[in-house]
Symmetry: C2
Subunit: 310 residues, 2 copies
């Protein structure tokens, strides 16, 4: 594949940025990769792993001479970071981000950037419950979507170049506006995460069900919730605080619907329950047909070996 940028600066070296570094390097998409992270420990691990060609102690140094700057930090610190790097950006550099919320990032970042820079917010819909520089892998974006949210008047060439980078890392790219992005993600990601966090917290609290039992018997459905609820706490705190309106709206709808199902259980309305469960089954079929999951029984999880016996 062709080189897309001469010098890419990765600010923040967690799961997404480290995966980008590995994916770009594997496909030869960047002439040089620089990086930095706020924590000294993360920078040292990145150096040890050789994630980047150069790891700098500050974002200001890392962005110098870069034609692509990737902001890969929690949404809540994007604004301060933009302010810090703005004076050091190369003429005509593209600045993108990988945050899970888009309107709040635009509001925080755009005012700081110089006229000559191209700001094209982005969001790869990919991740695992792991975080940090060691958690990255080059295949993370393969067959996953990356949503770009170009502001009106975005330079067409800069947009095409960023799109090509994501496609070369294996992603499918879509474009949409920030408000729609934030609503779609509230439905497909933010509300489900809060719900999973809540359910895992409830299980942890139940005094009559020991932790040990919750863990031993997790295969019965709860396990999928714990995976979601193991995601990075700082990242998710910021997601909820910055996509507040859309998340609360979806949670309101969720609660309304949950109450209706609870009432059906209480009153013994089996027809209501059966009709509801039949409807939700169809959505799953659509996801498998769209290639966003496999139809294999139990996703091969049965292969997990127990470390402790019965």
């Amino acid at each position: 594949m062709a080189q897309r940028y001469q010098r890419v600066a990765l600010i923040g070296l967690g799961l997404i940025a480290s995966s980008m570094a590995l994916a770009m390097r594997r496909a030869g998409l960047a002439g040089e990769i620089t990086g930095t992270a706020r924590s000294r420990e993360t920078r040292e691990i990145a150096r040890e792993l050789g994630l980047c060609d150069q790891v700098f102690d500050t974002a200001a140094e890392a962005v110098k001479g870069a034609d692509l700057v990737v902001l890969a930090v929690p949404v809540g610190v994007m604004g301060a970071l933009a302010q810090e790097i703005a004076p050091h950006l190369a003429e005509g550099a593209t600045v993108t981000d990988v945050g899970s919320v888009k309107q709040a990032v635009i509001d925080a970042v755009a005012p700081h950037l110089p006229e000559h820079a191209h700001f094209i917010p982005g969001h790869p819909l990919a991740g695992t419950e792991h975080s940090g520089p060691r958690s990255g892998f080059a295949e993370l974006f393969v067959n996953r979507w990356c949503l770009l949210v170009p502001p009106p008047g975005t330079d067409a060439e800069a947009l095409a170049r960023l799109r090509a980078l994501w496609e070369d890392m294996g992603a499918h790219v879509d474009e949409m506006d920030a408000a729609h992005h934030d609503l779609v993600l509230a439905v497909t990601s933010h509300a489900p995460h809060l719900i999973a966090y809540t359910m895992v917290g409830v299980a942890d609290d139940m005094r009559r069900v020991t932790d040990q039992e919750v863990i031993k018997y997790s295969a019965a459905g709860f396990r999928d919730f714990t995976r979601i609820a193991a995601s990075d706490p700082t990242m998710w705190r910021d997601v909820f605080l910055t996509n507040r309106e859309a998340t609360l709206e979806i949670l309101g709808r969720f609660t309304e619907e949950l109450f209706a199902l609870q009432r059906a259980i209480r009153t013994g309305d089996g027809d209501h329950l059966h009709a509801y469960f039949t409807r939700t089954r169809a959505i799953r079929r659509g996801i498998i047909d769209a290639g966003q999951d496999t139809d294999a029984p139990d996703f091969g999880r049965m292969m997990a070996k127990p470390k402790s016996g019965g």
Copy 2:
């Protein structure tokens, strides 16, 4: 492995019973396997697949001469089934079930069974979102738990034999009483399933987010919910109607907790959110350590091939 029963009758030939048939046959655990199902179509598929040595049209015929009878039908029809088979049970036969709720099954089944039969309710914590006779596979129970709920005074030899059968199919076996089982499962399975059904229903309802978007972007967290919410509607209707009290209690706790987190989002209480999310992360670690899931990023799901392009 040794033969555990001379003749096993499987009543209902869905995911669990068909997996038992395959697992028992592979390990030579049953001299003969008979089966039946209410629907003619299911019986025909079972015959075509050769799941059992003999597929009968009625449960009364299927149980004749069996030393183990497995009730593998939705919880709501267990009582009527017990009444139907009771007069035909062999002297000293063991009757077990695989229902997800235990007290309701005991209340429905026990009164019908003759004195000479050993009734030992059971519940293998294993399954996929698929159902029907074609969905079974011999490895379904490997490394999974099977909970047995022997009533006080259960014959020790009959219990040991049933336990050995499950262990020979690869399961770990635990024993507990029915009330505790129903509460533990309300936490680890029943409430999570209802929550997943609810969230998938909400997504389906959102008019400003198209079905197509929900499906395309499901990898962001929602996908795990859809898998859970694709489970058999009849089975789950019966679970909620028969484990009503415990499920409603957990859902009440869940709602309380969800409201507290919603308030934290609304008021911008990031510390509360961060502390909560940090606590839930630890549970996940426990599940991986206990061997009930793998630590592999994304469970290899990234290997799914999309059937439609970008």
